[in-house]
Symmetry: C2
Subunit: 495 residues, 2 copies
Amino acid sequence: MAKVKKQPRPKAETPKGFRDYFGAEVTQRAEMLRTIAGVYHRYGFDALESSAVETVEALGKFLPDVDRPNEGVFAWQEAEDEGKGDWLALRYDMTAPLARVYAQHRNDLPTPYRRYTMGPVWRNEKPGPGRFRQFYQCDADTVGTSSMAADAEICAMLADTLEAVGIARGDYLIRVNNRKVLNGVLEAAGIDGDATRDAVLRTIDKFDKVGEAGVRELLGQGRLDASGAYIDGVGLSPAQAAPVLAFLTSKGAAAGETLANLRAAVGESDFGAEGVAELQAIADLLEAQGYGPDRIVIDPSVVRGLGYYTGPVFEAELTFEILDEKGRTRQFGSVAGGGRYDDLVKRFTGQAVPATGISIGVDRLLAALHAKGRISAEARGPVVVTVMDRDRMADYQAMVAELRLAGLRAEGYLGNPKNFGTPLTYADKRHSPAAVIEGADEKARGVVQIKDLILGAEIAAQATLEEWQENPSQIEVPRAELVARVREIVERGQS
Amino acid sequence: MAKVKKQPRPKAETPKGFRDYFGAEVTQRAEMLRTIAGVYHRYGFDALESSAVETVEALGKFLPDVDRPNEGVFAWQEAEDEGKGDWLALRYDMTAPLARVYAQHRNDLPTPYRRYTMGPVWRNEKPGPGRFRQFYQCDADTVGTSSMAADAEICAMLADTLEAVGIARGDYLIRVNNRKVLNGVLEAAGIDGDATRDAVLRTIDKFDKVGEAGVRELLGQGRLDASGAYIDGVGLSPAQAAPVLAFLTSKGAAAGETLANLRAAVGESDFGAEGVAELQAIADLLEAQGYGPDRIVIDPSVVRGLGYYTGPVFEAELTFEILDEKGRTRQFGSVAGGGRYDDLVKRFTGQAVPATGISIGVDRLLAALHAKGRISAEARGPVVVTVMDRDRMADYQAMVAELRLAGLRAEGYLGNPKNFGTPLTYADKRHSPAAVIEGADEKARGVVQIKDLILGAEIAAQATLEEWQENPSQIEVPRAELVARVREIVERGQS
């Protein structure tokens, strides 16, 4: 007789590049998003939650940054209409959906439209260590105004947000640059032709890595890199390279000095002068609002995003040092970026609408707070009421209800208590602050035992055997004092 | 010369069956989810956010309810491996992912594992009015215990949750039934064979609609329905139908009476007796915790979900009346449901793991609070500082910064003020409580004008022309009093 072929069991795994988040990972992120939303709200921004699924047509074919692959979305075709259904896709960022939302609802939305949004986005990219295909974005944008006051406001809001979530003043810096200044510099250098322009932009992007001397070589004839390979240069003359280098190194001690250097770097370029004037306007507005250079600075060495944005560009960096995987100290680095982009909805309506905004890397920011010890990885578990006598479950659950009613996190142990140790092992696994025990003897005497598990763990780690046997982490209290005494232990554990 | 063919513009629309959520829709839901999470946390439940994307293999081929189509997910194939990539899909509920998570992480998770989760799910179904293909679910489940204390706890938690979000005691009722009792009744009625069984289950499902007499006819020979069509019956004898009808109508004035009626209905069935004992245990536990029949009742007429769950079944109904679209009063109805299901992870591990849980319909619950007037549809907008002189933008933004620093929601008007009316129209659209005006004259005199827009709207609606012209809704105050006077207006508007 032929054997019946067994259906193979499905694998219990997330798809490659996806992960689950547990306990404190979820609640700490939720708490951070709530804090950020509070600041955004105070700044007059309104919440938006657009659908996670968009038509591929509305998303456009390309991801916004030149760095990213041209494909990279999760997409599928609607089954309807005999294979002629719309192609749908998961959003890959919050900006493309904002463009669609603004174009769709523009008659109902106020102008300017300040909106914030927070939620997951999806990228169909090759996953890697720490690189996931679903992650959170938290964006704020102002649509429909070309006023630099909108850009300055975004920078001020970003500073307030970082402080609100727990990054101390002095531990972050928001740096501001402007694409128009760069364009002016390119004009002053007499660089035209898209190919040369792109090559110069790519070289500028390497400033952080290779420094002034390296960029000078790469803008000229080329450079021998650290590995010994020769990298061809862009082929600019030293005279052409000079404004570019002046731009990259124009940061002075104060905004006035930086702006004067930039004015020199853009030479006769009208476009460049416009960019410098924009930076001046932002600096003036921020000064009037009390945001000094300890929080927000004009910094022409900010190059990230310069290829994508069309005016001011912002970047928030955390300036404290952490240890990397190899034990070397390095600056924590960027946690947010943004800038001004024109033509937000032009694809849809034919009409150019200016916009400016910021995107916060929520998971990076959480990692920073962990690195600074501002939030702990482990959340405190519930008080566990052990079950000594299964027939008296109702009594135990009544104790649990009493504790909960008093606002304490509590639960009865609902596992199968083969022996007394099981519920205590469980309480350990949950990082419970306390366990409550009421056996037949305690019941008869009108008392309960309370084990202080935090103190117990400390004693276990430090105490001698004798001290351990005295067991001061367990107390016997009258049943009527249950809630009050448990509260003392829980509150002591929180402090 | 041939004309250059223009690329057609993309349509600015969500895909069919999807929608966007704006302002208060987003923040009110977030606030509700936060409140619910607070209750769940207090009960010892831990947060989980599983990935939105699962392998089709892990989700399984079928949606959980028999009512739903067998297909119905948004799925696509990974591009890798020459067309042999995994099929991935968006989760259609939170239970299938819980099974995968528990199977994947069972060695690291505590047992029992109490978890809650909240977020969007996606259904590839035909959209209709009020029926969307992306919506929120908010679930809590206890995995790994067969104790009825877990089921009772879920019911108590649901009651606490409804009260925490603003449903008053007396405005809701949680009803509890048990699948095993039904199975016992079918056994007592001598019904076997899957086809007959399924037909009886379908008939029971119609109890709410056709009542006892209707079910009696449908269990027997059949019934002429309201439209005049004859519906064939299941063909049971009156003796066979009797236990089913006794089951459906067994609800008494108190739990004891109901349970006695059920004991009679299940006759000699051991399975039925087990179900009645489970209901008895739940009733006893809830009584000990102080959850009386004004909040949670044993009610055998709960039939929804009986086909899917394997033990206790819960349903939360809001009992107050609302007007439907046609102006008729009806009970608001169900906002949450759940129950006990075995074999949660058996598909993955071969091992049966019992679980019990609840799912809250967050959007239904929000609709209920709107219907009761507990939350208002319009959120208050920011205080708007108007821009009278564009060269003095820094002054205006400094005022805004002062208001924000004082915790007031505020913004400068950043639109293009062609005339004075524009920023006030904007403030109206934002439902702003106040507008601040400082022209050259006010600046010279060291004062500002504050328009109370809430009072202004009231006056505009009620006042005579003369009263309107006196314009008491606008006050002039010293610049130094700006924050204090604006705060008064904002706080008056909130009360």
